[in-house]
């Protein structure tokens, strides 16, 4: 069977689901960040697939993917910095223990 748009969109959906499950259930803060990166990559796959089959000359999907990559890089830097400062304050990276407001 010829590889088409639906193949890539299905793969993207499955990867997004895996990433979402991880982001909802993980306790380790860095693991949550990693799962969010999986979700962003899944979205990127669908963007580039749309660009390939729906607008192959216009490339709008690829431009969107570039912006998603930029935002993901910024998110990773700030997110990891937050994890580092939580670790310094609480000596732990488990998000369940970062409950300072609970007292």
């Amino acid at each position: 069977m010829e590889i088409g748009l639906t193949h890539f969109l299905t793969l993207s959906a499955v990867l997004f689901g895996i990433g979402l499950f991880g982001a909802l259930t993980k306790r380790h803060a860095i693991a949550i960040l990693m799962c969010i990166e999986i979700m962003l990559n899944a979205v990127n796959i669908s963007m580039v697939a749309f660009s390939r089959w729906v607008a192959p000359v216009d490339l709008t999907g690829q431009v969107f993917a570039i912006f998603i990559i930029v935002v993901a890089a910024a998110e990773a830097a700030v997110g990891l910095a937050i994890v580092m400062s939580i670790y310094r304050a609480r000596q732990s990276v488990e998000v369940d223990k970062a409950d300072l407001l609970k007292g």
Partner: protein, 169 residues
């Protein structure tokens, strides 16, 4: 034929490494498998005729994001806690499965308007035209530059020592 084999190989690599990232116990290995996932996504981009984006994917995700994640793991040293799941695992599993099923159903039932045009062989020049040319995305590019600067400064402020002095060495 080559494309079909490459797609299935890369897709299986993607899904297996994503599952290993979510379910694995050792978080350092999970981060390395995340780098493998990024790498196979770059392979998918090559199949999709997005050569520039594939190189950017390897450069930024494998060369920067995965490396930063590894740095954070090495600095926090909480490796064994990587596999622990919280008490929402069953509802999260059901929700994720329902979402995937809804997405796949909508993907398969939508009549996509496939363009008859052949894709560009080389995308770099066309992408540059699109980003920086007339009527392109120059405003978002500048906003993205400000965002990157802000996030770099924010990250520095967040990890700075509280007494205002840099930790030396």
């Amino acid at each position: 034929m080559g494309v079909t084999i490459a797609f299935w190989l890369l897709a299986i690599m993607c899904i297996i490494s994503a599952l290993a990232v979510v379910l694995g116990r050792n978080i350092f290995r999970a981060a390395l498998l995340l780098a493998l996932l990024f790498f196979s996504v770059a392979g998918l981009y090559i199949i999709l005729n997005a050569d520039f984006l594939a190189a950017v994917q390897v450069l930024i995700y494998v060369g920067a994001v995965a490396i930063l994640v590894l740095l954070a793991i090495m600095l926090t040293r909480d490796v064994t806690a990587g596999g622990a799941l919280n008490k929402f695992r069953l509802p999260a599993l059901i929700f994720s499965l329902l979402l995937v099923m809804a997405l796949v159903y909508s993907v398969l039932s939508t009549p996509w308007q496939i363009s008859p045009q052949a894709p560009l062989e080389t995308t770099t020049a066309a992408l540059g035209e699109k980003l920086f040319g007339e009527g392109g995305f120059i405003l978002p590019v500048e906003v993205a530059a400000v965002l990157l600067l802000a996030s770099a400064l924010g990250a520095i402020v967040l990890v700075k020592e509280k007494d205002g002095k840099w930790k030396s060495g």
